[in-house]
Symmetry: none
Subunit: 199 residues, 4 copies
DNA sequence: CATGAATGAGTTTTCATTCAT
DNA sequence: CATGAATGAAAACTCATTCAT
């Protein structure tokens, strides 16, 4: 009757459905029944593939990681690497709205037991580490303003992604998302770089 | 045994308890029973003060607004106004951990009906509007970099608060919160202002 | 603030409000809060006048009795006495819709403890007894058909009131209630009486 | 321990249990917990078979309809059809005590939303329509008294069933139910028919 | 693998009732 | 008398989870 699939496939389907639900309808709708309906199976069947809901939350985080980490290619100029990272994140705001709000909402973390908060934090730390590495390399190559505090800049860059995410969500952007992505990045970049102000 | 209080008081207590719970333990624990226990009353009693859980969510938003909006005093220099705004927000990260994550979580909005998303968005828009007004005035007074895109800067400033919030939460700050607050703001400020970099 | 009234007055008000609610909105709405709101007092205040809900149900029955029993005047011709009884009951369908459905719904009786069913039954028995007495006297005076089974006729007459009540409620009467009252009674009367069929 | 049954079966069981409870113990006891106990399952399980209590009320009405409508067979003589209808209804008073009081209680109707009153009314209308059709046909065949007002007679016949129902419930019948059924019907019949009384 | 029935432990909400003020 | 706060118990659902088929 129902399509039978290998557990591997189903697990991914379930994780994706969960991401979609959390992104679109919030954590309150993140229930076995809702996920099952989204996937097209019965709720009991969920637990043939996952031991419990916590395991699903774990899989969701794995999947998010998988989907996000694909972006940063580690080639060439550090500022360009940073650019591609930031732009890909900004862009995902438009294409995968659920994804970003998942990492930047602290709510999923509570869904898991104790490792929860740590796992989500780790996910975010990975982003920070990448940004930090780009900035450090750029500083070494003397591409940044002399007085730039790297750690503060890390907060700034990662924060900007969130700021963009919510501005887009609240429809508080003065121009289409696609356009704003570039504008915001260019502003940030010129603020990080040296030699633009020739007063 | 039971402390008797006026409904006015109880409503505030309940809203505050709700904020605390959401902030500390996540939306999943935002239940009548948990709130009641926190306040020290029975769960049924909650509904003598609030019609239903949605009304509590509404009160939570009102309270958040009340607590946040108190900050920005409109005195003198626009950049100083911005500073006091940003610093007060950054500071509240340490003192009122639940508050900020509430505004930046899109999950509460789902709890209310249709006005939900709009209400939370409005709360955030208020912050953006304030930042924008400061920046515009500063631009007029020629205090900012010539090439600065105000709208992008708004995203940057508001985003930074979020970036700081999560960095603090994830314990990803290299120095104590109190110290970092100033460092981050100084970095941002010098990036917005003109004429520091005399290349 | 609120008008203070003697318990006697309040008790009647409460009983009347209860009758109104049961009649108009059903037993499910027969709650202390609803009654209080109807009367214009707070729910706790109800229990200053009645020990508990059962006592209110009792008072409701007392009041119903009071309102119904006023009708039958025991004068003159037995069939005329019957007529005045039946017509007054039929008429109350239009004027006091709640009243009748109270006696002919077996639901209130459950609301009281054990005496409940017996009390409502007693109320109905009173009606039956009156009808029976009229019919017996009429039979003695040779006003009825020879073959008439009095007991069956009692069932018929009392039943007719109920039939009328529900037909009116369901808007299943082919003519206005006022007109039908008479038509139905005339039909019943001519069926009970002797000498109408002169085949 | 737990008996497993198909949802089809369970739904019927639940509806039947509900009918039994309402009939025997009144609407106040018409609760998920009571039904569950009657059926022998846990109360939460009820809602795996019915969306909510209203749906159960709906099913109750369906079931009542199903149980009642089976009776009237359309054979031969109109007065015999009427007889079989009336007797079957009178008889069900003894065998299915809850059934009748359900149709004549206006309380269930409140349990459903807006269609409630209409649905219950429709159920009663069906009975009236059947009685009316029998009487009309009988009148055409000249089996009834010349002066008989059909519409009044419909009220009389349907009312009689209710009168019988309550008389039986109140133990106000002078002879066993089985005997009275016939006696009452014979009385009614002879009153409707022409030419018995040859004054 | 998948289903469909069942469960136990919640969650929100209602309600009769109490009692200090 | 009346109020307004509080309560315990129950009602109506919800949900993760189990398990026989």
């Amino acid at each position: 009757m129902t399509t039978r699939k290998s557990s591997e496939e189903r697990r991914r389907e379930i994780a994706d459905a969960a991401i979609k639900i959390i992104g679109e309808r919030g954590l309150r709708e993140f229930t076995a029944a809702q996920i099952a309906r989204e996937v097209g199976i019965k709720d009991g069947t969920i637990f043939r593939h996952f031991k419990n809901m916590n395991e699903i939350t774990g899989a969701v985080l794995d999947r998010v990681q998988e989907l996000l980490v694909s972006a940063p290619r580690s080639t060439g100029d550090p500022l360009e690497r940073l650019e591609s990272f930031v732009l890909s994140r900004l862009h995902s705001v438009a294409t995968q709205p659920g994804l970003q709000s998942l990492i930047f909402s602290d709510q999923i973390s509570h869904a898991l037991g104790d490792e929860g908060p740590r796992r989500v934090a780790a996910l975010r730390d990975r982003g920070r580490a990448f940004v930090r590495s780009c900035l450090c390399e750029a500083a070494e190559k003397d591409l940044l303003r002399d007085d730039l505090d790297i750690e503060s800049a890390v907060v700034l860059v990662t924060g900007m992604v969130m700021g963009f995410l919510f501005a887009a969500k609240d429809e508080a952007l003065p121009a289409p998302v696609g356009e704003m992505e570039k504008r915001v990045w260019m502003t940030l970049r010129s603020m990080l770089e040296r030699t633009q102000v020739k007063s």
